[in-house]
Symmetry: C2
Subunit: 151 residues, 2 copies
């Protein structure tokens, strides 16, 4: 949890930050996505404090982004992405794309993405869901929406 509660703001960016804005949360999702699904695996891979990992996992489960699932008759669980969580991974892909472009340096990007549909190594691009043309920060106007008045 942040000191300041973003969830109350009438802004979908702030609300999203309330779900995955704390330090570590995006990296936890990344790890779950690539197959580190258990507490010990996450802790070892990330080097995160166990206390904080517990807090983050509980929060992500509470928010419906991850699901806790037993995988043994012993009290053992793994964490898996829900549909809501899987769609957050899209955000991670865009984040990775920006980092690949601006921060990777000499040696190039640490991972590559192969698109199932065309079989090629590729990157994500943002398109308008309506017309299919490119849709970036300078290609849009912002208008107040129906939820604008809610505080």
């Amino acid at each position: 949890m942040q000191r300041t509660d973003y969830g109350k703001m009438a802004c979908s960016i702030a609300r999203t930050l309330d779900v995955i804005g704390e330090p570590w949360s995006p990296l936890i999702l990344r790890d779950v996505w690539v197959g580190f699904t258990r507490f010990e695996q996450l802790q070892a891979d990330l080097g995160i404090s166990r206390k904080v990992l517990t807090e983050r996992l509980n929060h992500l489960v509470d928010q419906g982004v991850l699901e806790r699932r037993p995988y043994d008759r012993r009290p053992r669980h793994e964490y898996v992405l829900t549909g809501k969580g899987t769609e957050l991974v899209d955000l991670l892909m865009v984040m990775a794309g920006w980092g690949d472009k601006w921060l990777a340096g000499e040696s190039g990007p640490p991972v590559l993405y192969r698109h199932h549909a065309c079989g090629e190594i590729s990157v994500v691009d943002l398109r308008c869901a309506h017309c299919g043309e490119s849709m970036h920060a300078n290609d849009i106007d912002i208008l107040p929406g129906p939820g604008a008045a809610v505080r």
Copy 2:
């Protein structure tokens, strides 16, 4: 700065978090994007502590995401997005899109986006830059890239 330094990890998500992963940074970028470009405006709109706002702005300028620009003969500046920063706004759009879908509730999204190209209210969609087909979390394989070995 986080306690843990993400910038050292061989992961573009972690590196991106090193730039805008601290609390407030995405909201600062959002505000600059929509036109709150001055210290006092940002402080008033966000309700952020002045100390932290100073730190965040310096960090974002250091990272080449924002540019500090004088707008008066007095020592007054405004902050504007660089090219690098403008591309980060794409990330904010995806973040907002997710929040609109999963967190907006009854009253609907607080803001709408009108796409210049088609003039319609729309949302961003992720496509493969290579073939143009939909490209989401489950549509790709992850492979090690050239920068994978760097620690």
